[in-house]
Subunit: 454 residues, 2 copies
């Protein structure tokens, strides 16, 4: 019998734990689930006899270590900032560990220690990062195996609301951490490279420099540049590729409306607004507009931002409640970003019957014997309900599938790794298809002229 330890039983662990329970009998597994909150554990395990529950603080090493010692593999679903002590324990007790979080430089430095302990520390094995790497590398390797040379690489992912639940003017609801949405793009210019030229987009322009993408049957989306696309050159072995660009997907029109909030200053997180605890939504908006005792907040906003009478972006801003005389509802003064998040959460929550949707899109150009072609590859995946969301499935299934492969002895990797090798991505993507996580693809030849514009 093999023992699996799952650390964290939050929203994102639902599908993972369910997958592990479904496979437990056949694979002869015992699943230990630890979380600070027992109710969360019970919600995910349904008290299955294949599981054991541990309500404890994972940062308490006296409580955590005995569980790690008992296990054959640890799956850490903890917030990224809490992984480190767990990973160090795994090295100490020689246990494999996998996570859906980014491989930080600090984790990367543990490669030698991991190899000495004969264990695998597999990072970035969720959706984004995770399925993005695996699906992209499958295409990249295929082109290389045919002797092709990559000329450009673009990749986008978005966590959105499913079309059947899409009933607001932003075509957006929070399906994940709202704070990340409000803070998106802050902290530095977006960097990428196009035809060998480094390109930089400052935050104040980021949401107006998006790329429109159309996906068959699902309509148009816009791709907004991620902060650093450049690091993926070395990760994917594309060090000399002249164009690389990664971004986040939203429905078309989101970026234009969001940009008004950026321009207003409503997304800033660097200072506390004096007196904001007693503000209404309308006061909050007015704080960023010039003083005038006669003009309405609405007119000042429209004039300041030069929004035409018939511009539909106005509906989005009004719908969001920016001009409502409703108290924000906070106990103490907060930053603009914190207040904006609260205002948005009043409107953009998923309703009980809403479903979420994951969209991923790769556009990869290549040249074989001077013939230019482009592959478009895309995934649209809709969640089952509010528990087994598309987000939970696409994060949890790669972890579950890989755990199975590892415990069966089908994987022989050691050290600090990412899922970019065939022996990992082929079987994982293969089993994901059985769960409906299926990429579609279209290949087109293109002219030299068109290729030059990418």
């Amino acid at each position: 019998m093999k023992t699996i330890l799952v650390l964290g039983a939050g929203k994102s662990s639902a599908t993972l734990i369910s997958y592990l329970i479904e496979n437990a009998e056949k694979e002869d597994w015992k699943i230990l689930v630890a979380d600070r909150d027992l109710a969360m554990i019970v919600d995910k395990t349904n008290q299955s006899s294949f599981t054991e529950s541990f309500a404890l603080d994972m940062m308490n090493k006296e409580l955590r270590r005995p569980l790690i010692e008992r296990s054959d593999i640890v799956i850490s679903m903890l917030p990224a900032s809490l992984h480190m002590p767990v990973i160090k324990d795994c090295i100490k007790f020689k246990k494999n560990i996998i996570t859906p979080s980014y491989m930080t430089p600090e984790i990367k430095e543990l490669d030698k220690d991991a190899k000495n302990a004969d264990i695998l520390i597999m990072n970035e094995l969720g959706l984004d990062p995770g399925i993005d790497h695996m699906s992209a590398m499958k295409i990249v390797d295929r082109i290389r195996d045919k002797g092709g040379e990559l000329t450009y690489f673009e990749s986008f992912t978005g966590g959105l609301v499913a079309p059947e639940s899409d009933n607001n003017p932003w075509n957006y609801k929070f399906t994940w951490n709202p704070r990340n949405v409000v803070m998106a793009g802050q902290g530095g210019a977006a960097k990428f490279i196009q035809r060998g030229l480094f390109k930089y987009i400052p935050y104040n322009r980021l949401f107006r420099r998006s790329e429109v993408i159309e996906i068959k049957e699902y309509g148009k989306f816009e791709g907004i540049a991620n902060r650093d696309s450049l690091k993926y050159r070395s990760i994917y072995g594309l060090d000399t590729i002249p164009t690389i660009y990664r971004g986040t997907l939203r429905r078309v029109g989101f970026g234009k409306a969001w940009n008004y909030l950026v321009q207003l200053g409503a997304t800033e997180d660097g200072y506390i607004m004096e007196g904001s605890a007693n503000m209404t939504h309308r006061d909050f908006t007015n704080s960023f507009l010039a003083y005038n005792p006669y003009d309405s907040v609405e007119l000042k906003f429209r004039h300041y931002m030069k929004i035409d009478q018939d511009d539909e972006v106005w509906d989005k801003l009004v719908w969001l409640g920016l001009f409502e005389d409703t108290p924000i509802g906070i106990n103490k003064d907060a930053t603009p970003a914190q207040i904006l998040q609260i205002i948005m959460e009043k409107k953009m929550q998923l309703e009980p019957h809403d479903k979420d949707m994951i969209v991923m899109y790769h556009k990869i150009g290549y040249k074989i014997k001077n013939k230019h072609s482009e592959i478009k590859s895309w995934l649209v995946f809709i969640g089952k309900d509010q528990k087994y969301t598309a987000m939970s499935d696409t994060v949890g299934l790669p972890l579950g599938i890989f755990t199975k492969m590892l415990l069966r002895g089908e994987i022989n990797l050691k050290g600090v790794r990412m899922p970019i090798m065939k022996e990992v991505y082929l079987p994982v993507l293969g089993e994901l298809e059985k769960h409906g996580i299926i990429f579609k693809e279209k290949v087109e030849e293109m002219s030299e002229e068109k290729a030059k514009l990418q």
Copy 2:
């Protein structure tokens, strides 16, 4: 005989040292001038027999302390970040010290130590901060003495090029530290209060929310909000004033053009641009624009920023050299802000015969027995030449005059202070007038309605 120690013989010490030498015989002074660079000292002292020169590193306490021990007063013209060890020495050796730099919280904490040592640590005794405080407090106290209540307070200062030397489309040349010009407004939203409402302007809008000010005989200027106007409420004893706003002056049109550089991302200082060491000005500009192998950098810029064919802002941008195929001329990759500064320094340096100009402007509203009035008070002061600049005069003379008062025993202040009391500002402003630093003033009654709009 009294001994004065001047620490720092840079550009801003020229008038100060000259003033001290002129008064040395009559006042029976010996002036010690210390700087790392002997040539700078000689340039300022002309080897006057009233002076002694010390070429040394002021951060070396073994060399610094004997000079402080010999002195009756220390004038620190060092960069603000280097004041602290000198001030601590002054407490140790019980010597008065004055500086033109901001009073930091760390300096403020030394108040008790200074009083125990029976010394004065006078801060903010230059132009801005300095003359701004003194001239504003003179008006504020006058209104209060008449039983008036202040209803609004606005204050602006600018270091500009004199009209006779103003021959570029920006109407601007560097008369002080260029780095400060490039970084102006970064690091947080501008905060002020208007009619009791807190107002916040984010960096991306700062240069478009300026206030136009007209000064008789000198034409129009624009006032751009400083980062934090709120702290002046307590400094000036105006804690309940409903409107307070402080800003920087430029010629009208500067802010609009500068805003394009902000929007472009060219003022950012948070990342190093890869490959920038080998870029031309044009490459630098192109890094912030979308890739297109057919369109010119100029057209891409105009389109991106929506600049009309006949908009004169375009002349400013072209004149600055943003589209020139000239190497930037740096040895290693730099940040956008560093590169922009280098590009600007090629065009915006003062020429040998250019003169600088200081402009200060206060607009203060008040109410006496329900009658609303407004005082406008302004100073325009033009420098003599490139050595005795308006900046050097307006920073150095307050320090020199106050030194004379202190050594004559006319001032009895102790502790950590700012020049906001009558006993300081009246005599200092009085003697400044003899040097041509004269405020003009206009008082107007105003209607209740007009007062409400301020």
